[in-house]
């Protein structure tokens, strides 16, 4: 027992890699969102591509999604996973050099991957556009991420594995499985490969990947973030720990089946579509169980809102999480999907999740985390409060614009004339969309400017400071 205490006294958590990941996550957020605003502008003023292939919508759109999801999102998840797994296991990171490798290799992969998309390399699979050399690189980094994360859990000093680690662990395992299977391809040249799957099975595999990337990365991963940082910020234990574990297993079991709802009314078997509808509806239960758990945890900690601007972001992110996880199953119902499919309603749904849930919870976490990493107070609480209202306004405007555009599109391209032919051509309908797209452009700009404000605020907080050393707490003998 004495030996153990001495060992604890000499060690500290490895947080420098966390700081680096958070900083790069913020940089990718601003870059990725800026590209998003640019492509939104291109939909209003198409000549903004200046005749350059690399500036065309077709190349910039995957750049936007990849930079935001893999640059901003995964860097944030990796950073917060490294931070929280040490503290919930009461040990420093396993293999810290490997953690640094994960950080460096991931940033290089996102940078070069982004450039390859601009150069026109694409597998044409949505959210998996990167070509085979990057797929292999991503697999290697991901395995290293898994070794660091699970290695830390394996050497933990307290017996229970806290629920945030279940979600982060689920993220690592499932994304590895999805990425490897969906990326199976035959390379032809360095920049081109062809999927191992053909036709309808290829589409099913792609959306099994696509939907579960949303599920286990953008939902599960960020739930891991929520389960660690929300109780920390609220200074309360999670409202119902049992509910969180039940929700985790229900979520893991039901999410994996729901992907084919992306392929309603296509050539995949009808029973596969119906199964996806049922599983999508079931998914509502674990999603909302988690939302209720979060809301109830924070409900008794209102006094924290006086001093901590970060908590506001997390509270609001839960409201948008509730919206997105309800809207998704609803849009999976075939009689709703018949109108919503192939319209901007889908884009609105994605952004109510991406802006309202993922970005807001990450912003809240960063406002909490960065001052603690460098051992100081946040540079400006006022700027953070302004950012909060900008983020809320941007998200609401975005969602409203896309609801209006999407429902109009759905109605117009199903309209029939007296002899049963389509009333409007695709071109006519799209020609009526610029007002909505202008509104969406303004929404994106407001959201982006809020993120720029956060970047400045966090930069001024970090400037001239080093990551402080935090020691693991002394461990009671019964916990070892």
């Amino acid at each position: 027992m004495l030996d153990a205490v001495e060992a604890i006294e000499g060690e500290h958590y490895f947080d420098r890699v966390v700081t680096a990941l958070v900083m790069f996550s913020v940089i990718w957020a601003v870059l990725g969102m800026a590209v998003g605003v640019y492509v939104a502008a291109e939909l209003i003023w198409p000549t903004l591509d200046f005749g350059q292939p690399w500036l065309s919508f077709g190349r910039l759109r995957p750049l936007h999604t990849n930079v935001v999801i893999f640059g901003f999102g995964v860097s944030a998840l990796m950073g917060t996973a490294f931070y929280s797994v040490q503290r919930t296991s009461h040990v420093p990171l396993f293999a810290p050099r490997l953690a640094w490798f994960c950080f460096c290799a991931w940033q290089i992969a996102v940078l070069l991957g982004g450039l390859s998309l601009l150069a026109g390399w694409t597998s044409s699979k949505e959210y998996a556009e990167l070509e085979w050399p990057f797929d292999i690189a991503i697999t290697i980094v991901w395995v290293c991420f898994a070794i660091v994360f699970f290695g830390t859990i394996a050497k933990r000093r307290i017996k229970p594995i806290y629920v945030s680690n279940w979600f982060y662990g689920g993220l690592i395992i499932v994304i590895a499985m999805l990425h490897i299977v969906n990326s199976l391809a035959i390379p032809v040249t360095i920049s081109k490969s062809y999927s191992l799957f053909a036709g309808a099975p290829d589409a099913i595999v792609q959306w099994w990947y696509g939907h579960n990337a949303v599920g286990f990365l953008l939902t599960g991963g960020f739930l891991g973030m929520m389960y660690y940082f929300l109780p920390k910020q609220a200074d309360r234990p999670i409202w119902s720990y049992r509910l969180s574990i039940v929700a985790f297993w229900a979520f893991t079991y039901s999410y994996i089946w729901a992907g084919p709802h992306h392929l309603h009314y296509s050539s995949i078997p009808d029973w596969v579509q119906s199964l996806a509808v049922v599983m999508s509806l079931i998914l509502l239960a674990p999603s909302w169980a988690t939302m209720i758990n979060g809301i109830m945890t924070v409900s008794s900690a209102s006094q924290k809102l006086r001093t901590d601007p970060a908590l506001k972001f997390i509270v609001l992110s839960l409201a948008f999480y509730g919206l997105a996880t309800f809207e998704g199953p609803m849009m999976a119902i075939k009689s709703v999907n018949v109108v919503s499919h192939y319209t901007d309603w889908t884009i609105g749904h994605v952004h109510s999740g991406a802006l309202g849930w993922n970005a807001l919870i990450t912003f809240g976490t960063f406002y909490f985390l960065v001052p603690r990493l460098v051992g100081t107070a946040l540079y400006s609480v006022r700027l953070a409060n302004i950012h909060f209202w900008m983020a809320l306004a941007g998200t609401m405007l975005y969602v409203l614009a896309m609801w209006g555009a999407g429902v109009s599109q759905g109605l117009l391209w199903l309209s029939l004339d007296e002899i049963g032919e389509l009333s409007f051509s695709f071109k006519d309908i799209m020609a009526s969309m610029p007002p909505y797209y202008a509104l969406r452009f303004v929404a994106g700009l407001v959201f982006l400017l809020g993120a720029v404000l956060m970047t400045y605020n966090l930069y001024m907080t970090i400037r001239g400071r080093r990551t402080i050393h935090v020691r693991p707490p002394a461990v009671m003998s019964h916990q070892i």
Binding site: F320, S340, W403, L414
Partner: protein, 204 residues
Amino acid sequence: MKTVISSWLLFRLLFQPTAVFEELSDTRPEPHSVFFKFVVWLAVIPPVFAYIGASNFGWRLGAAEPLFMPPGELILVSIAYFFALLFAFVSTAVVAQWMATTYGARHSLGIHFALVTIIAAPLVVGSTIHLFPHVFLNIVVFIPALMWSMYLLYRGLPIVLKISPERGMLMASALIGYLLVAAVSFLGLTVALWGQGIGPSIGV
């Protein structure tokens, strides 16, 4: 404690929202009096405007001709709109009352009816734009109305329900969560009804 709310209160809301909230915080209105004195009338306004607008100008979605519905069907849709608004109102008030236990707020149903009436008032004012039912124009007008409404919610809720501003912020955000879900349910239900042949005719 007063049990009756003056009709002037809604008009004063435009200029002196804080004074109105404070007056309401000392009032214990009866739910049925709020419902029949304010809610029913406020809920009639948007469907009437929508009926007048849609029958005279047709719904304009931006592409080609405006969409006209047969008069009988338009009346049915407008009546359905009225009942949907009543349902939205009552359900929001009941949900707010349910949440009040968690946040330690006032629990009487009447005060929640009054609070939701106030929050809904800017949207009723905004519904004037239904007189010219151009979808994009309606969205553009409803955005400031919604911002006004959300301002009243965040500012008014803690005063009327007598809780701290921080608790008010949490409860208002939870209520926003419910309202977002209710709004999208309404959208989904409407679209599903189109597929069943109710509303504009689409090729499904």
